[in-house]
């Protein structure tokens, strides 16, 4: 990496040999105008506006700074008369083609052009080629190209038809110096639809994300579409980005497992009458949670879909819980988080908040007090299962609003409450894949899909299989404090197992009496844990007690009764039969 001496406008500096002049100038703060140059793209050197005067071994040359490689001892002047005359005329020529581009006019003012001598054209493209090159070299979509030659040259798509290779990544709009390329409204509208989604392909999910690191969204990252781009990898100084990473299946030997696979919120569309998915302003509690989060997409403001503030908000409890059609059980946490949201919505947007509940379950420390606090705050609580949410306006007051129809059991009448936004406090349910996970760990589960603990009171965090523990909502709906407590318990259990240092064998393993064994090997393929092996020398089956789980299948199958099981010998069971049948 040879360093060479370079002087620009009298300022002496050093730079790596053959680096482009414009980079050296930038480093020492000398401003050289560029139009067709962009750091992410190979220098192209066609606008020639970056022309500077270079004195080298007595020869004076005008070169373009963007791609001229510095060599040892060169002297550069960026503001000589010859340079200014060149830039002035280039700008006049450009104005003759694109007379009304703000960028060109500001530059022109710098060079004292008031009235260009070739008039002002009304084109906006200066044919700098940035869009063509970023689309081909960086994005790799090859949607744009140059057509024709000489003065009739223009940028376009093949046959001037919309190109199917364009992936609407907007890179060309980004680099176009004159704003000639714009994104058509349809794409803008699609981007607008996803306020809650990430804005770029690489993003840090939220401020509180753990681990607090950027992640690449496989679907929207250009590299996985066109195998090009990798701009993020280029600018990352820590060189931490590797697009080649693949999902890896790793085999990890562990002593014990804590299953904490959690829950999933009930899909509100399972309760169609509340209109989720039909009315834009019917949102789930999680979405409101996303909005009230200060680093969320709406910076903590509770907004309607069209971005305005709601005047009135209705929060419906027990959506998908305590309901024969979905789940009979109470999800335990919805009441309290609904109250929290009611408080935050009222505080953030000043809207009138209604809560529709069946029974206010504010059990536990400080919760009841919080409920009373809300009552004082003016939040209106209506006791009754909400029948329906619709947008038919019966009275003018309901025009343009969502109407919640509910039977107010305390008042004893059916009421229609118009609100701007409806929040559905969806309950908790077992995850879709709960069944596979259960089978994987040989656990059994309740009818609702929650994993079954060994004993509700005596062993709440362990399961029937030794060494496999469960914690959190995988075992049943619970709130965060309970989950954290259970997590601690499961960890303690696991550590206890590890701490003992050895594994307790099952008490009731099988064994083989070698005298009686005839070597028929019926038992060998029977054992799912391959605990039985046939020893060639002794011509008898041998059983490894450490592997044997004690199911006894081999014992039942052994014709010569050579195989027996501790605590469940044939004799014991036979006498049990007799005992049971004695008169």
């Amino acid at each position: 990496m040879k360093l060479v001496k370079v002087t620009i406008d009298g300022i002496r500096t050093e730079a790596e040999d053959r680096t482009p002049l414009v980079q050296v100038a930038q480093k020492i703060g000398v401003k050289i105008p560029t139009l067709c140059h962009h750091p992410l793209v190979e220098p192209y050197g066609v606008c020639r506006i970056c022309t500077v005067e270079v004195h080298m071994r007595g020869r004076v040359r005008l070169v373009t700074a963007c791609n001229y490689p510095v060599t040892d001892g060169i002297e550069v002047f960026t503001q000589t008369d010859r340079v200014r005359r060149t830039r002035k005329l280039i700008l006049e020529w450009l104005l003759a083609r694109c007379g009304h581009v703000p960028l060109l006019n500001t530059l022109a003012a710098e060079y004292g052009i008031t009235e260009p001598r070739f008039g002002r054209g009304d084109d906006t493209c200066i044919l700098c080629g940035l869009c063509v090159r970023v689309c081909s070299d960086v994005v790799g979509a090859h949607a744009l190209g140059f057509f024709n030659r000489g003065t009739t040259r223009y940028v376009g798509t093949p046959y001037d038809e919309p190109s199917d290779r364009c992936i609407a990544c907007g890179a060309c709009v980004e680099v176009c110096p004159t704003g000639c390329i714009t994104m058509d409204d349809e794409v803008e509208q699609i981007r607008g639809e996803l306020p809650l989604g990430p804005m770029t392909a690489i993003y840090i999910p939220t401020m509180q994300a753990v681990p607090h690191q950027p992640v690449i969204d496989y679907d929207s990252c250009i590299h996985f579409k066109t195998d090009a781009c990798r701009v993020c990898a280029a600018v990352c100084e820590a060189k931490a980005i590797d697009h080649g990473q693949q999902d890896r299946r790793e085999e990890i030997q562990v002593g014990s497992i804590i299953v904490a696979t959690g829950f999933q919120p009930v899909d509100p569309q399972k309760v169609p009458q509340y209109g989720f998915g039909r009315y834009p302003n019917v949102v789930t509690a999680l979405q409101v949670e996303h909005m009230v989060n200060a680093s969320g997409p709406t910076n903590g403001q509770v907004l309607l879909k069209d971005g305005s503030r709601p005047q009135s908000v209705g929060i419906i409890h027990c959506v998908g819980s305590r309901d024969k059609n979905t789940h009979e059980y109470c999800s335990r946490v919805c009441c309290m988080y609904s109250l929290k949201l009611a408080h935050l919505v009222h505080e953030r947007s000043g809207a009138k908040v209604y809560n529709f509940y069946i029974d206010m379950r504010s059990a536990g420390k400080g919760y009841e007090e919080f409920y009373n606090h809300l009552l004082e705050e003016g939040c209106e609580f209506i006791r009754g299962r909400v029948a329906e949410v619709s947008d038919w306006a019966v009275t003018p007051a309901e025009q343009g609003k969502l109407v919640i129809r509910v039977e107010d059991t305390l008042a004893g009448l059916v009421r229609r409450i118009p609100v701007d936004m409806v929040v559905l406090s969806t309950g908790l349910e077992a995850r879709e894949d709960a069944d596979e996970v259960r089978r994987l760990f040989n656990m059994s589960c309740s009818s609702e899909g929650w994993f079954l603990e060994r004993h509700p009171k005596l062993a709440p965090v362990s399961t029937f299989t030794d060494g496999v523990f469960i914690a959190g909502c995988a075992q049943g709906p619970k709130d965060i404090p309970d989950t954290v407590a259970q997590a601690g318990a499961a960890a303690a259990e696991a550590l206890a197992l590890i701490d003992t240092g050895q594994v307790e064998l099952e008490a009731y393993t099988a064994w083989i009496d070698e005298e009686r064994c005839s070597g028929c090997q019926i038992c060998v393929p029977l054992c799912p844990f391959s605990a039985i092996e046939f020893s060639r020398e002794k011509k008898v089956s041998t059983l490894n007690e450490a592997l044997c789980k004690g199911c006894g299948t081999c014992v039942a199958a052994c014709p010569s009764h050579a195989a027996q099981q501790h605590h469940f010998t044939d004799a014991q069971i036979m006498t049990e039969i007799e005992g049971v049948l004695v008169r």
Binding site: L452, P528, G550, C551, G552, T553, I577, V580
Partner: protein, 138 residues
Amino acid sequence: MATTAFEPRIVAFFCNWCTYTASDLAGTARLAYEPTAPVIRVMCSGRVDPQFVLKALQEGADGVLIGGCHPGDCHYQEGNYKTLRRFRLLKRILSQFGVEDERVRLEWISASEGDRVQHVINEMTDQLRKLGPWHARS
């Protein structure tokens, strides 16, 4: 013999992880069912040797009920499949001995199906009452 009505006696072999727990659950859930089926707990339905069934019938049981986990749920992965294989062969022999089909049953009952234990035992007891005692008592 006492003139009281015929009460069938069933020997039930329940696997420890599923059916035995289910019957325990039925108990805690206060589900009432006929007391005619005392339970012998085995670690896995695979442990039930066909000879146990023959022994039970020989000793005067009117019916035998074997309870195991649903296929795929077995705590020992394949035990219940072996039971199913043996049970099919056993049923063929028993029919030759003249044992009616209802007398010996194999049921898959998982740990959470307490109600199913209640249902199976009650149903089997009714059937055996109709069938009458197993007269092969020696």
